[in-house]
Symmetry: C2
Subunit: 211 residues, 2 copies
DNA sequence: CCGTGTGAACAAATTCACAGCC
DNA sequence: GGCTGTGAATTTGTTCACACGG
């Protein structure tokens, strides 16, 4: 298939999962993997994996499977993970501090370059090696230091305002930890991290689960 | 529609979002809302809202809309949010401590009753008002204090072992913060919180975004 | 006349199944 | 013989459009 535009979003959402599992297999010294094995590893049908990959090219060898190394690289290239991404974080409360201290982003090439907060007692501090600035200076900071992604870790009531500010300063992607549905212009990407919503849909099934 | 079983999972995942927005409208003093207005509020088509609700009953009034209060209550009942849920957390590192300090769970009726960790320097401490026990005692704790949900906040390499332990001790739902696809028996619910995967799919669109 | 509830029409996503190649 | 890549078949999910009640 030659299609470049119009890949379903569900497919894009699965690619990082494949990439992560492949990296894990690579670490274990695995050279080749079939869609069957990969599917078993992460609870997905082999056909789905092959179909998903077919949107982007032909990466496998019939009768053999996929080169773990090669497929990992291809997926990282497709997703844009072969480049570094810069991020700013807004809201240095409990949650914000945990995010700043988290090593997982850096390890995958996502670098937080600055943090912002409205409370004077937090401004000027350094958390997880990241300097905290006054949120009043967010726009001017981004003008001289453009960032790709903004992380919102403020309260629900302040989140929309921060989102507007980020979007107005050229940020094209938002990772939103605030429990609110943000309104952003088309073309701006938003991904929500919502543990409470996750729990609230889980209970529907627990309620009726067999003992 | 009278169907009780077989509601699509995507529908269940949307209900908490509706419930949250309705609660917000309620706080603002709003009495009645139409599917049109609710849809605009959170970027969903009115038809989808009506169809989603129709799986569970008839909650609206023709020509008027939905009673905000009534619909909130119905959704909470459907989702099982009219009861309290007890949770245990495993892994009291940076992330685990942030989760223990987070007020959002308690506010929605999800109560963490105990935390567990493998490191002796952490065991015995209290974080966010929750006592930390040795993970060796997890199974015996759960035998005398059954919990509905387990929160996994350990490293990727330890997560499967913890999941097995939780499932073996009667936990029916897992909120997983570890970056790994857990294998659990059918009937056990797993929800993954994956900020890194969220970023990694977002970059696909940022890569090709218009300037 | 407004807005719900819902079959029917449509669109999207998944799975099947097999030709083709290693 | 094994496994990919992919059209076709099937299943699942969304939107339309309108009868009906307030």
């Amino acid at each position: 298939m030659i299609t470049v535009l119009g890949v379903p979003e569900v497919v894009i959402d699965r690619l990082p999962v494949y990439a992560r599992t492949l990296a894990e297999l690579n670490r274990k010294g695995r050279q080749v993997v079939s869609s069957q094995e990969l599917g078993e590893e992460l609870g997905v049908t082999p056909a789905q994996i092959r179909k998903d990959l077919s949107y982007f090219g032909r990466f496998g060898k019939q009768g053999r499977g996929y080169s773990v190394q090669r497929l990992t690289n291809e997926l990282r290239r497709i997703l844009g993970l072969d480049q570094a991404w810069t991020m700013v974080l807004v809201g240095v409360g409990n949650l914000g501090r945990a995010v700043l201290s988290y090593k997982g982003f850096t390890a995958e090439g996502f670098r937080i370059v600055a943090a912002f907060d409205a409370h004077t007692e937090t401004v000027g501090r350094t958390v997880g090696g990241i300097r905290v600035y006054n949120v009043k200076n967010l726009a001017s900071f981004l003008t001289s230091n453009p960032a790709d992604i903004g992380i919102i870790a403020v309260s629900a009531s302040g989140a929309q305002e921060v989102a507007d500010l980020l979007v107005g300063s050229g940020v094209k992607g938002i990772l939103n930890y605030a429990p609110v549905a943000l309104r952003v212009p088309v073309g701006t990407q938003v991904k929500n991290i919502e543990p409470v919503l996750a729990l609230q849909s889980m209970t529907y099934y627990l309620k009726t689960a067999a003992p």
